[in-house]
Amino acid sequence: MFEVPVADYSLNLNAQLTSEQQANLEDQALISALQRAEPGAYETLIRRFQTPVYNLAWRLLDNPADAGDVVQEVFLKVFRNVDHFRGDSSLRTWIYRIAVNESHNKRRWLFRHRKGETGIDDAFPSEDNREAPLVDSSESPFDFTMNREAQLLLEEGLAAISPAFRTALVLREIEELSYEEIAHVLEISLGTVKSRIVRGREALRYYLANRLNPAGAVGIPGPVKWAPEAEHAK
């Protein structure tokens, strides 16, 4: 089968470099290779970022098909704008910013155009499910079911909270970005990032507590609504 050549842009210049410095150097090497249209540079970029970008879009939109569209748009923008990338932030932060913006645009579009639609996809097994390989999990069937239930509940909770909180939470807890990186990605202040994360966690906890114990969520504060005006007033 035809193998696409993948260039290796990892550097071993100096063992004393911190991992962050090394990552920055690798980013710069990859960017200049992309700007020169070197063979293998595009494939390296895709291999490195396709899974994180797909997962980010998937969690922000909660729909694999829409996430696929967003991923294509993100990479197209990256390819076409890599000339203008000035290196003010890391390559990862820049790509994540594009992914978050594209996901928000897509969500707005879906909100306007799919209001009255009813999906029929759920009635049939998806292509993904048909092709899913059988995995010999080391967990017991009971543990597997319990963990799967917990994951589904968490995914459901993430989809239920405000998009602004969800984005901040996904970037922090799943993509493991630092507060500073999230501020760069979302183009908001550090204080706003921290506030959204704290309020997002609280909203998620409230949602999960209510789902697990709908009768008596006693003493649990109500869900936090996102108010952009309140944030700007800070």
């Binding site: 998937w58 694999p64 993904d128």
Partner: protein, 114 residues
């Protein structure tokens, strides 16, 4: 040591469960947790959520999407190469013009050959 209120402690419990607190804050939070059942329960919820986040499955990129990305990359690379190299661009334009010309001639050429 100053006794902390629940309102102060709760926002720090996420960092506490991630072991990100410094020694002073850690001691203060632990002292509060020893005496407050509600915050202790809150910590259990927070820890479960953190654990859940860490075990969320990574979605693999569908093969069809991977192929589409490769095709886009190849197309974009060709465009960039043409832009970087004016000679290539001129040759590309010439080939395009030739192809258009041959297409234009086809309806006349086929009957002419019998």
């Amino acid at each position: 040591m100053e006794e902390l209120s629940c309102k102060t402690v709760r926002p720090t419990l996420w960092d506490y469960s991630a072991r990100l607190l410094d020694q002073t804050d850690l001691a203060a939070v632990e002292s509060h947790l020893d005496s407050c059942r509600e915050c202790d329960r809150y910590l259990t919820d927070i820890s479960s959520m953190r654990n859940g986040f860490r075990h969320l499955p990574v979605q693999s990129v569908p093969p069809l999407l991977q192929t589409k990305l490769q095709v886009r990359a190849s197309r974009e690379r060709s465009r960039l190469l043409l832009r970087l190299n004016p000679g290539e661009w001129l040759r590309d334009m010439m080939y395009r013009a030739l192809i258009s010309f041959y297409r234009f001639l086809r309806p006349y050429a086929v009957p002419a050959t019998g």
